[in-house]
């Protein structure tokens, strides 16, 4: 069996037509997931059991089931309910892209909230005591002390989750979405050349991941600027 370079050259541009959808899935689910994660985090650290408990259950369910199953449930399951079909969300949930974004957001939100909580737990108790001693309110302490420090602490694990989300977007191809993976599967079905196509697809994802890593590296360096002793003191 030979490796058909010509086929790669021909099909790469076609696959790249799905790049836009991949990016769209990644960014929209990423942002919605982050917003959801912040809400879940606030519920988790509220100290109120009736907020903490539902958030914990939510996280348990969405971390405890395969994302592929979640996508199928949203895509095949939800439209069976008349309530869903009559709701204002129907125009979104009617589209496979809407379903994929919803499922990806719900899933990543569960993971990211735990990542953020790790960051919050990492903030030294002494700093919050210093804030209290200065008369700062709980809200001010969270916004000015906990949040910025927790963000820095959570960033490495968060970038991991964004990369993970990028790869999860490929699952959208299972519900008819023509993202990069979806297009690749169509080409493979036509050409019977899985090696060439899937290996070049893998390389595209690698390049994408590299970009995300670099971006987070820059953000990490910026947020961590206060952790470096620039001028060593005498």
């Amino acid at each position: 069996m030979s490796f058909d370079l010509h086929l790669i050259v021909e099909s790469l541009p076609v696959m790249m037509m799905g790049l836009g959808i991949t990016i769209k899935l990644l960014i929209i689910s990423g942002v919605l997931g982050l917003v959801l994660a912040i809400f879940l985090l606030l519920m988790r650290i509220s100290g109120k059991w009736y907020l903490n408990f539902p958030a914990q259950m939510y996280i348990y369910v969405f971390r405890g089931t395969p994302i592929l199953v979640q996508i199928f449930i949203v895509y095949y399951g939800l439209p069976q309910f008349e309530v869903v079909r009559d709701s204002v969300f129907w125009p979104i949930l009617r589209e496979p892209t809407g379903c994929a974004i919803l499922a990806l957001s719900l899933n990543t939100g569960a993971y990211v909230s735990e990542i953020l909580r790790g960051g919050v737990l990492g903030v030294s108790k002494g700093l919050l005591e210093a804030g209290s001693a200065l008369g700062m309110s709980a809200y001010h302490k969270f916004v000015y002390i906990t949040a910025p420090i927790a963000t820095r602490l959570a960033l490495p694990a968060y970038s991991n989750d964004v990369i993970s989300l990028l790869k999860s977007t490929a699952l959208a191809s299972t519900i008819t979405i023509a993202d990069m993976t979806g297009i690749a599967r169509t080409i493979v079905a036509d050409t019977y050349a899985p090696y060439e196509i899937f290996i070049s697809l893998a390389i595209v994802y690698l390049i994408f991941t590299f970009g995300i890593q670099k971006l987070f590296g820059l953000i990490e360096r910026y947020l961590g600027r206060y952790t470096i002793r620039e001028q060593p003191h005498e």
Binding site: S124, L127, E129, A130, A133, G135, S137, E230, H233
Partner: protein, 250 residues
């Protein structure tokens, strides 16, 4: 010395504090008048940090009453923050906000809690940085400063709130020996200006020269309370004598 010197700023009556089954404070009675300097010493685990942490309610006492400038410490959040504004605190581990420059560290609570304008907060911050003799560090981050400098910044940060009382929780215990004096000097200056101070410290030289009263605690109780001269020359309690012989022996 003027009339207001006699005003009682801190009253603790029958204060107890438990951590689970462990009793950290037993029937603490203490009155501190305006302008007084109190040094609290005692072996580790004797409750001295817990005592001063109860004064700004970083720890909630279980029984008894604590009055700060006439206001009783209760569970009312608003009241607590009102009291905390008036009580500055310096910690053993400095606790400067690591993600803010020195200047921002000094300005933050002024703006948020005292609702002071940015320019005014900055002026105050610079004024106090000059008082602790490190105005040139204003734009640096805490990690770029030495321990002694960080602790002086922490003192300045507390002073920016114009507190009536300053609490020091072992302010020099985390410092290298050569940095202890620069922090003590700032504290001595503050004492000379008439600040009401309660210092948990083992710096007996500081206690001798600055304190109006020295309090010795052991096992959650105030064992002895006397002016420094009496306290060091003629301690009444055996436990005090043992403690002093241990820390002054070398």
């Amino acid at each position: 010395m003027n009339d207001s010197t006699n005003k009682t700023l801190i009253t603790m009556e029958g204060v107890t504090k438990f951590f689970g089954p462990f009793q950290a404070l037993k029937n603490i009675n203490l009155k501190v008048r305006k302008g007084e300097k109190i040094v609290v010493c005692g072996p580790s685990g004797s409750g001295k940090s817990t005592l001063i942490r109860c004064i700004n309610r970083l720890e909630k006492h279980n029984e008894g009453q604590i009055l700060i400038d006439g206001k009783e410490l209760t569970d009312q959040v608003k009241d607590i923050n009102a009291v905390r504004r008036e009580v500055g605190m310096v910690f053993q581990s400095f606790n400067l906000f690591p993600h803010m420059t020195i200047l921002k560290n000094l300005m933050l609570a002024q703006q948020l809690v005292r609702k002071i304008s940015k320019t005014e907060a900055k002026d105050t911050a610079i004024k106090y940085l000059e008082r602790v003799k490190i105005p040139e560090q204003a734009e640096k981050y805490p990690i770029q400063l030495s321990g002694g400098q960080q602790q002086r910044v922490a003192i300045a940060r507390a002073l920016c709130m114009k507190p009536k009382i300053m609490l020091f929780d072992e302010p020099t215990s985390a410092l290298d020996p050569e940095m202890i004096n620069e922090v003590l000097e700032v504290m001595v200056d503050l004492a000379k200006e008439g600040m009401t101070m309660i210092c948990v410290t083992h710096e007996m030289g500081f206690a001798r020269s600055v304190a109006d009263r020295v309090i010795f605690m052991d096992m959650g109780e105030i064992i002895e309370e006397a002016p420094p001269k009496e306290f060091f020359n003629n301690p009444q309690n055996t436990r005090t004598r043992n403690f002093l012989s241990q820390i002054l022996s070398h």
